[in-house]
């Protein structure tokens, strides 16, 4: 897998934008981020139960889970042999703390008909709870499946990047709680520089690391980059992340044009058919 071409680290994040760098290679899957998020934001527990999906029992991001740690076991090879010599940093049991990506161009925001979803002064994307009417348009508009309607109040919820904490000059609860600095908070452009250096360092040690969330990977399709981006060591699909997401809105114009074209073609075909049947009758 040659990823040289993907190490571009280009993002259209606005100057002054803040975000997360989540470096999976440093993550120990402790879920402190998940708990710190729920505690700060006073989110209730999810549907409760043993899933059997490795150590992941909360399943997915949702209306009441805004940080979610995914566990992917890739321990043995095809013959069932367990590895002993491991690649540096996280390997074989992958753990990723997923979060809202705070897209540079956010599908959810564009789809929101009430203006409840706004872009803050930190360039983060926040759903204003007093305006959201629970229409749910943002839900399918997100290529990452982040916003969700809560059965408790019927409204859409997702990570606010701790807007209230940022207003008070504090870093978000998850990054504050992370013991290994796998979650780093800061200005997106500075984080991107750090990510590029880290990926270069990892590759020098033979780790096939890559940035997920620049314009080449993860921030594709008109998204323009993710303000909350990741360092991964496996293809994004392994972590249940789309390899080439795109803004759903980008499909509107082509769909409209295609539809128009199709209508035109059908109309013409109808006309031609009628014309020809007339001719046939003349015959």
């Amino acid at each position: 897998m040659s990823r040289e071409s993907t190490l571009v680290g280009r993002t259209r994040a606005r100057p002054g934008a803040f975000g997360f760098l989540t470096d999976t290679t440093l993550c120990i899957g402790c879920k402190a981020c998940e708990v710190a998020c729920k505690q700060w934001n006073q989110l209730p527990m999810d549907d409760f139960g043993f899933t059997g999906m490795s150590y992941d029992n909360t399943g997915d991001l949702g209306a009441t889970t805004w940080r979610h740690v995914a566990f992917i076991e890739r321990v043995a090879d095809r013959e069932g042999r367990r590895p002993t010599r491991l690649q540096p940093f996280q390997s074989n049991w992958l753990m990723l703390s997923d979060v809202c990506k705070h897209c540079v161009n956010a599908g959810c925001m564009e789809a929101c008909p009430t203006g409840a979803i706004i872009r803050t002064e930190f360039d983060t994307v926040v759903i204003q709870q007093d305006i959201c009417n629970g229409c749910g348009y943002c839900v399918p508009a997100c290529p990452f499946g982040v916003p969700a309607l809560s059965p408790l109040d019927g409204k859409a919820h997702k990570c606010t990047l701790c807007y209230d904490r940022l207003k008070d000059g504090l870093e978000p609860a998850c990054s504050k709680a992370c013991p290994t600095d796998a979650i780093q908070f800061g200005p997106v452009h500075a984080l991107m520089d750090r990510a590029k250096a880290r990926v270069a360092e990892l590759r020098a040690q033979g780790v096939e690391a890559q940035i997920y969330g620049d314009e080449a990977l993860g921030g594709t399709g008109g998204i323009g980059g993710l303000n909350a981006f990741f360092i991964l060591t496996a293809p994004p699909e392994v972590y249940n992340l789309p390899a080439a997401p795109e803004l759903p809105q980008r499909r509107v114009l082509p769909a409209f044009l295609t539809t128009a074209l199709a209508a035109l073609a059908l109309g013409l075909a109808t006309l031609v058919t009628f014309w020809r049947s007339k001719e046939v009758r003349h015959d």
């Binding site: 879920k31 708990v35 069932g80 002993t84 010599r85 013991p179």
Partner: protein
């Protein structure tokens, strides 16, 4: 604790978490550090980022393994074979024998050159036991383990002490009975081939580990070991830890930055609870609790038998008498031996497992349970609950109604109708407790660092701090016993118990407690600057000498300091003793007092100032020059030369051979766990520890070695998401949802054999009991080939119980009461079991 103490002088971690960041190689063994010490693990990650090698030796591939460079799967209970083989490999390696660093360190800083008594016989000569073994009593007479040499009695002491020992030495290290040669012979059998046979670790993998450790030890590089209770909880736990100390001494890694042994404690302030102990056989500061024996009859008797002539423990009278002054105040006078007579004397074994059986047998009638959940956390948990059910009264203080408080109406045996609540006569008092954020106080963390925490919110309702409860209980007892002239009444009446109280709930003033712990001059109450100011004439009082100086003479609590830096961070909290961060740090310099290397400098001798200087507080007399030679009649630390880093030891040296202090032998020896599917490949005649305390009683049956009914090895452990027996996590929705149900981890290989899939209900069974759980089939667990046959390992977290939100079968229901002879710690990391698909009782709902 005795594992490190017997060889190095103190049971505490020799290094700090932050110092791990300076390691060149970190071996994590007997610990799942990333999961159970995630905050401390940040320094392992830091070290890795600086290029260190991280090795995880563990039966399971855990979250720690995921961040390691090397995962070495090992059979539970075979750790000592692995460590012993490392010792053997190192001693016979070319590097160790050619690099002068190792010889210089070992010759000067350890007892390698001491000649051992010719009466000593090794396990290699006596088919698995040392000389002095009494098979009837199942204990050792250690008199043949002594040094060859001269014993010099001392006269003219203010307080008596033991005679001074002057051993014979061979500085060439060639004498067949010098400690190094004895060690070398003892471990000769611990070969890579035996490792493969006993541990299931392939030879080449073992050699890679050994070579990596060797390459990262020396003048310019250091290797650290991190261990936790997966070394402790074995019948040979102390010897496993002690073997690591032996290895690190040989490699010259003790007392140096990035080296050492990090004893990762079970949970918050466990270190503190042994320093100022909740243990039955210790007084604060590791002073031995007096026993009801003639040798401890009077204070003078106690010193005559416990006080050594050499080393820091020579100052024992200062520490003990200051403690008696702190506890008994004006009632402690020179005329009455400072009220020594009032100290309770131990008449037997009152360790946790023993008191469980005593409760069940009706000997103990009442119990206070604080910060513990024995109905779930006790070994042989069913026996533990039967013990609770046989009490007259039980006081449980906790933040939730834990199983120990609810067992009488909610335990599995009650739910099934086997036991009826009305037949349980125990009167249970459940009192709500405040958690850390609801009270002021300190934590003593894993590397002896004391840190203050402020109260953030008031505790809800009637919840109160432990300090509140204990203080007011004591106050009321004093009222109750006023004028009572019985021994118990006099003990309670004499206690100083006059802490001022603050706030609407009359919480005791913790600063007053801290001042007492730290020590003060009796005449005017001025805090002492440290234990060097304590006296043995009753003019000072000190509640715990190793914490002395935590309150400064100006009245500042040093645990409140929060100024960190890149080195020792001396102004961040307070580390006992005397704020020393790396213990035995005299060894960070060579015998002449120069740093071993620029990269690994820590403290060194400054000839200009004529004192030890550096980044840390010297764990050594500050002005004792490196070339100091002790006069023949010197006492205490003056009897140690200027090259003796281990100030608590008699001779100031790290002990490769331990002539006294360990009950199961002077050298680490592998014995199989009490329950094992295989025989001992090293000593077939002596498969199990010859001196492990066993509880032979019908309610605690053991499995025979290789019992076909219990073919699998089971190991129990914890998860990041839960806290010990669950009292602080299983009732908390945010934590409970992360690991909502009890489960067992089994390999796909075993799952296929038994037809089990992930999510299935399974029942794990031993002769003690059964536990029901969900199956988690994972490649992270693997069968091992031991001596040509496949041994399956089952992993089971022990957090779960029948109360709270996250419930599950109790893993400790399966474990037996059986102990390490030194620490009296149970064996929960390796025993045998069987497992089947299905449920315990079909009628039980989902």
């Amino acid at each position: 604790m005795p594992g490190l103490g017997a060889r190095l002088g103190r049971g505490g971690a020799t290094t700090t978490l932050a110092s791990l960041a300076e390691s060149d190689c970190i071996v994590i063994m007997g610990s799942n550090m990333a999961e159970n010490h995630p905050v401390g693990f940040r320094f392992v990650v830091k070290a890795r980022q600086r290029g260190a090698r991280v090795i995880h030796v563990d039966p399971r591939f855990s979250r720690t393994s995921a961040l390691a460079d090397l995962h070495v799967p090992i059979r539970p209970g075979s750790d000592l074979v692995f460590l012993g083989a490392l010792v053997n490999y190192v001693l016979n390696s070319e590097r160790w024998n050619s690099d002068p660093f190792f010889r210089e360190y070992v010759l000067h800083y350890t007892n390698a050159s001491v000649i051992v008594s010719p009466d000593f016989r090794d396990t290699e000569d006596l088919a698995g036991v040392f000389s002095g073994y009494d098979p009837q009593q199942r204990w050792y007479d250690p008199s043949s383990w002594q040094y060859a040499g001269r014993v010099q009695p001392l006269e003219g002491e203010r307080w008596p002490c033991r005679p001074r020992i002057e051993p014979e030495r061979d500085p060439t290290l060639q004498h067949p009975n010098c400690a190094l040669q004895v060690v070398k012979r003892h471990f000769a059998r611990y070969t890579p081939e035996i490792v493969e046979q006993a541990c299931g670790v392939p030879r080449d993998l073992f050699v890679e580990v050994a070579e990596t450790i060797l390459a990262n030890s020396g003048r310019d590089r250091t290797t650290a070991f991190c261990y936790a209770v997966a070394w402790t909880q074995h019948t040979i736990g102390t010897q496993i830890i002690s073997c690591c100390a032996l290895l690190q001494l040989l490699l010259g890694n003790i007392g140096r930055p990035g080296g050492g042994i990090l004893a990762l404690r079970g949970h918050a302030t466990i270190q503190g609870s042994t320093d100022i102990p909740t243990l039955f056989d210790l007084l604060p500061g590791y002073l031995k609790m007096p026993r009801a024996i003639p040798q401890h009859a009077t204070l003078a008797d106690y010193f005559a038998h416990e006080r050594p002539a050499t080393g820091l423990w020579y100052d024992m009278p200062k520490f003990l008498i200051s403690l008696l002054k702190a506890w008994y105040g004006d009632a402690a006078t020179p005329e009455n031996d400072f009220a020594y007579e009032l100290l309770p004397k131990i008449g037997g074994d009152y360790s946790f497992q023993s008191i469980l059986t005593m409760m069940k047998d009706g000997i103990i009638k009442g119990l206070f349970v604080m910060g513990m959940n024995p109905a779930v956390g006790g070994q042989n948990a069913r026996l533990a609950r039967q013990a609770l059910a046989n009490l007259d009264w039980l006081v449980v203080r906790d933040v939730h109604e834990i199983e120990t408080a609810s067992f009488w109406y909610d335990a599995p045996e009650v739910r099934s109708g086997e036991v009826r609540p009305q037949d349980i006569k125990t009167e249970v008092f459940f009192l709500p407790a405040a958690i850390a954020a609801e009270k002021d106080g300190t934590f003593t963390n894993t590397h002896r660092l004391v840190q203050w925490h402020d109260k953030a919110v008031d505790p809800p309702g009637d919840a109160r701090s432990e300090a509140h409860f204990v203080f007011h209980l004591g106050r009321r007892l004093k009222e109750l016993y006023a004028g009572d002239d019985s021994p118990a009444g006099r003990q309670i009446a004499a206690l100083t118990w006059d802490y001022p109280t603050v706030g609407p709930h009359q919480e005791p003033d913790l600063m007053a407690v801290a001042r007492e712990v730290s020590g003060y001059r009796v005449s005017d109450g001025r805090p002492v600057a440290g234990f060097h100011e304590l006296a043995d004439d009753g003019s000072t009082a000190c509640g715990c000498w190793i914490y002395s100086g935590i309150v400064t003479p100006e009245g500042e609590h040093r645990a409140k300091r929060r100024r960190g830096d890149d080195r020792a961070s001396l102004d961040w909290g307070f580390a006992w003793p005397a704020n020393r961060r790396i213990l035995y740090n005299r060894a960070s310099a060579d015998p002449q007092g120069r740093p071993w290397s620029e990269r690994k400098k820590w403290i060194w001798w400054d000839p200009e100032q004529q004192r030890w200087v550096g980044y840390d507080v010297p764990d050594f007399p500050a002005t004792k020059p490196p070339d100091y030679q002790s006069p023949p009649d010197a006492r205490g630390l003056d009897a140690h030369p200027g090259t003796a880093p281990f100030i608590m030891m008699l001779d100031g040296q790290g002990w490769l051979f331990v002539p006294l202090g360990l009950l199961d032998g002077p050298l680490p020896t592998h014995y199989e766990p009490w329950e094992t599917p295989v025989t001992n490949p090293l000593y077939p005649e002596q498969p199990r520890s010859p001196v492990a305390p066993v509880f032979l009683r019908p309610d605690n049956p053991y499995h025979e070695i290789g019992d076909p009914r219990y073919p699998y090895v089971i190991t129990t452990y914890r998860l990041t998401e839960h806290h010990t027996a669950g009292g602080m996590s299983r009732w908390v929705p945010w934590l409970a949802e992360l690991q909502p149900a009890g489960f067992v981890e089994i390999s796909p290989e075993l799952a296929r054999e038994l037809g089990i899939s992930t999510g299935d209900w399974v029942v794990v069974e031993t002769a003690r009991g059964c536990a029901e759980a969900r199956a988690l089939v994972t490649e992270r667990v693997q069968p091992l080939v031991i001596a040509g046959r496949t041994v399956h390992v089952i992993g089971m977290p022990w957090h779960f119980g029948f109360g709270g939100l996250a419930t599950g079968g109790i893993a400790n229901e399966l474990a037996a009461l059986v102990e390490d002879p030194n620490s009296l710690i149970h064996e929960a990391k390796s025993f045998t079991c069987t497992i089947r698909k299905g449920r315990l009782r079909e009628e039980v709902g989902r």
